[in-house]
Symmetry: D4
Subunit: 231 residues, 8 copies
């Protein structure tokens, strides 16, 4: 393992962008899919050493990797629904992200968004199972929408929830399509297309099942909207 220039740490199979925090305000994250348990552990450790004062995050972990992380890094904290771990102290919460999801099956993606937003420095609330086919459930949570600085709306199947929520509130809204569905949902494509075509102005979209990306974005918006934030 050698250092190679400013802001790069070379692990042989990976060159970490240790400079990312100074550049973008947030450290690099370990995307676990396609990496071995040992690689996840080693990258987590290296990132944590580079950022000892704040939590680093690993997502998309298999059960095997989670076990290996817990064995090798006993201070790591596991979020079993989000299939993710954090290592190090969470930052103080600044601003508020509200994660709203349409169905029970969308829970893992919503949890990944919520955990990510928290790790990236925002306060987070979660409301689950608010499907558009039962509008009274949406209406029942309507006033909570206005209290947030950024909304993350998670839905599979026809992906209609962001349009309905976006019509009820002017709060910035990030939509996350999930791969929940069957037949012609085509792995989340139906929800993705619906969200991109939302008739509610100001809806933005991230990739299918990408709770992580939505969480990062929402935390940035919420932090900058927080009243006493000085950036």
């Amino acid at each position: 393992m050698t250092e190679q220039g400013e802001g790069i740490r070379d692990l042989g199979y990976a060159r970490l962008d240790t400079d990312r925090e100074s550049r973008t305000g947030d450290p690099e994250v370990v995307y676990g899919a396609g990496k071995t348990p040992d690689q996840v552990v080693e990258i987590l450790r290296a990132l944590s050493e580079a950022h000892p004062d704040r939590a680093v995050l690993a997502t998309r972990l298999t059960d095997e990797t989670v076990e290996q992380v817990l064995t090798s890094l006993p201070d790591a904290v596991v979020d079993p629904v989000a299939r993710a771990v954090t290592l190090g102290p969470l930052p103080p919460a600044s601003g508020r992200v509200l994660v709203v999801s349409a169905g029970t099956s969308d829970a893992p993606v919503a949890a990944e968004a919520a955990l990510t937003a928290r790790v990236y420095g925002a306060g987070v609330g979660v409301i689950t199972d608010v499907g558009v086919s039962g509008l009274h459930r949406v209406m029942a949570v309507r006033h909570q929408l206005a209290d947030a600085d950024c909304l993350v709306v998670v839905a599979g199947m026809e992906g209609a929830l962001p349009s309905v929520v976006g019509g009820l509130s002017g709060t910035p809204l990030v939509a996350v399509p999930t791969s929940v569905g069957y037949g012609a949902s085509f792995g989340g494509l139906a929800a993705l297309l619906a969200m991109l075509n939302s008739c509610a102005p100001g809806v933005t979209v991230v990739n299918i099942d990408n709770g992580f990306g939505a969480g990062v974005f929402a935390a940035r918006v919420a932090r900058s909207a927080a009243p006493h934030e000085s950036q």
Copy 2:
């Protein structure tokens, strides 16, 4: 022009299914796209001769064809929004179809559905511009939904309206995606997929912009639900 067997009338370029009414309860219709004005006129005339006691319908007409029809068949009645004409007396109305559309641009498809349902023997009501991003507009018409025997819900873009309406009512609901939208709506594909994946149980779907098919189906359902109908 020769007769060839029972239930077939051969115009050379077309073999009319004059037997369709006895078989399915409804006469054949002229789908105008890809036919010359003269062909539309001749087929309309032949169908009207085979069914003198009830209206026959031609859809998807160009301006040129509409003019030719009005010149050649002065008794024809034009619906300019639906781009369609009828020839002959409308049947008595039995049962009630309600056509609900999401946006101003969906009007031609909604009009085609409404006219078709009327020609096929149902009473018809129309509610326009009820987008999901303004739920109060949906709520304002909520009680009209229950009075219908069949709903036709027309929407482009993200196609979310059928899910919302379908959650408010147990009336049979036919969804019609329209090609209204841009970018990744892909000519109505986004709305079509959303409707096929609706989380509201019991939503069925017809082809993109196919107001005609929705109208036929809805009229059949409404007619059979009418209290004094004897079939």
Copy 3:
């Protein structure tokens, strides 16, 4: 487990829409895919408690979930072909749904449609293995078509059966594409597109393999068409 407002029962991981029956005439259903056996059991039990006088339904169950349901809810009844269970007394049958399927491999989807329609209050008949490449099989059942209040036509591969049946009868027809096929059937896409483009007027379509949705819709149509029904 807490109650949260009227019409919502919050299980923590799910918020049940216990108000749905009063709103749409039919109770919520458990879609089993992506839920754990314990979740299916708990939701079934909660829904059954909310609707003690009529059957509740769970679909898309794995073998493991079926076993768990039978152990925990000994009054549940399993339909092994439909991979579904019911809990509670079936409602009286009103009107008649006829489910017609094209091939042996389409049986699970046809069974799901039939069971659903029955749970939703319609009488149900089933005809299997009526492929269009042997028209005499279609012709042999032709007169049964007219006796139904709503047809559900299930087919994979080229999805041609709804067009043929739809040309023989004016009964409202819901087509269900199945994922049966190989190569360029693309998981049922070929059948779906064929059905959406049916030349038989008045054919509506549900999602690939969505026997449940077709059953709900057909039951609603059949019930409203039943002679002594008072709605």
Copy 4:
């Protein structure tokens, strides 16, 4: 214009395969799309000089090209429905191709198939407007199917006709999807996929609107099946 080796005639912008007849039994054909009127005329003339004793064919011609051909090559014969011309004497007819089409709008493709099969040496019959939603029209022509050596079945929309015809007859059958349809027909893709997935064994398919390819293939099959053919 120079000769370059055996079997090639170089026009500068095109190198004609004048050897094709000896290699495959049939001369090269002019595909008119994307060629200027002058290019079509010059290639037709060159091919006709290379094959003075049998008809050469140009397809997919614009009105402008047809006029230019008639002016420059007064012996050319135009088929206005097929948008094609022939130059030179038709070969004797050997074997029999039957072209069956589903709707009026499929006529240009059916005509291209019929003319091509005739130019390639087969006898040809044509039956039009035999849609599957009126099965009695199919049944009325059933016995003509068995008299053919090869069937060409042309259909747009849901593309179901080849499956129905293929179930009625063991004659070799080539299916031609057409771009007739709207919405989710996607320019003929729905019909193409349906035909590729036909449940009738032994159906083969050519490209969307490719009446020419079907005609070539069918003529070859019919010629080889003709009783006194010696190849």
Copy 5:
């Protein structure tokens, strides 16, 4: 198990088309995918009883089904490459089908085509591993092409072999795309599209991996071309 009308044998889960041979000249075949081993055995036995004097065929068999068939029907003959079995005496060979495949990995599809053509009454030859990137391999078998009555050309990846073979011979040619390939072959879609767009006139195409369909078609063409065939 009951008989229901002429030409139908009802097994409960399947209604056999025992009349198909008299109608199309060939008996029904068991498509094994999605059927249980017991169902395959029972259908094979029923078809064999209906057609005791000629082989019946079952395709797409799993290893488990093959074992069950061999145990229950000891007279069955297995083709391990084609994953298929036959039961009963093969018919005499009439005419000649030549199956040409591009790569080693295409062998199962080529074997299915060859076995099917033989069961359907044609003589069959097979040439394997003739890829277009080594043209001398194609050239080496060139003269065998002309001796066949129908060619079946099997290729995956870019699917170019039918175009090359089709330019060398005027023999009717059926192309079979296979799902061999990776990346943007999309399960055979690349080869399918290439074959549909072949610049060699007279190439027809069947579904991806559909060796069976190609074999049926080719046998019919070859039989009708056989010199002493009386039809």
Copy 6:
């Protein structure tokens, strides 16, 4: 023209959501595509009457509509690059949106985003023609990125600019794919997919060419981040 309930103004062909401002903080906008010039004028006038103290916006206007607007509403202001008009006084600017575009051809979409953000109350800066194939152009504007409260990054072709910009800055970033490109850009699909798959965390995406949606979203983020904003 009649008033129908609170928050709805019914123009016959459209039902305006005049309540949207109080609900979401921003008034409804006229999406001009598919509307006649007279409809655009009438809706603009009605919205302006409902919101006399702030600008209303119409987008996607044809030349004919722009002329009709200027004739009928002489106070309207045209943005010719954005193909849009505003009517009424612009709100004070709060917070700062920076619109960055990749190529000259992306200008209309960038202009629509910029104008929309300004109408929705944010200050706006624009940087054009910053393609990733000339990184020094990106680097030259690097420090301007940090001064913005929200970035809108517009790109066609391979859509790589958001990934590069997103790696240089932690400012919230909305990516807009444009339909600029040819061949396999498929009308902006390539750029859309690239942006959805960006490796830079926290990139969100709107529909192809949807500068309007990006502008609305960015303005909301920028306004809430402005230091003296009281919400």
Copy 7:
């Protein structure tokens, strides 16, 4: 018009990368699609002033733009087949690119590739109309393939030519799919997929109709292969 930093020239609507030649060895090119005639002229003039000693290139020009260029820049040279112009002296030719195209309709793309390679400093040869369905045409030019330093192979429809040529020669080969074709060629997608899946090792691909990109690449390869090139 202002200068802004090293290597950038700002025209207001475009920021030219005048530094590109020193960075990549080749100057920037004007992609004409979507630009006004005046913009093309101004950019051409600015690039020519920055690179007075070598030709600059504008591609994808409309007829109107070509006329405007010839009027404003009388020294410009037009290639009418390639729809492109050059301004300034061509560089000396180093190394040899051979452009091979499959059909007459592919000529514009082949011409764009050839002109681009010449402008980028390579010697260029062109062979047209070498389709795979007439292999003797390919064989006739076989020995010319080995003399080139890089091959550009242009084909539409099934896109098989690169596989055949790539099997005959080890010269580096860039394949260019064209949008020539119809039906299921889907605007060149069929050829693109075929080329990406070529079984000939070492075939690379550029975008549909992207003769320019192929020409740039091929020139770079050819120049570096030239014996006396000093780079």
Copy 8:
């Protein structure tokens, strides 16, 4: 096992193109996917016997096949990252290929490209984990780009790296999209489309995950560019 003509070795299930080296300068390679371990061993041995003086290559090997190869061919050398083996002495290195990859997960594809280029006779360098969201990592390796004769740039997700690298250097560049990504990356389709639409001129593309093809191509370019190469 028999010899059949010049340049073909027939193994029964495969016909080896032993003449390929003399034709294209490089021997045939074993593509392991879909082949049994025994087949891979036998083909490797046969190719090695035909080319005893240089390494032959087998790619896409399963763990089982690798073990079988090591057992049967103890001189074989395994590259575990590339999942490939070589047998025989590597050729001397001529010219230089540089393989640059975007992320850790792209390593197997990059390794396959590197090994292939080496087997095909080029010198090879590798730089890993150079993502575009950390431009300083790209900049840090910038000067190495100019030293190469051909670049292979490997990236998944949004596939932006080739555009960025292509803007920094005029060295010929082959882009390899990988299937790394999730959601709407669609198995590498997003990266493939991005690379095909690169705004950097002169980028060519190979199939998704096709490191082999990129390696072959790059080696050919590098070899021909090497100063003392005589071809």
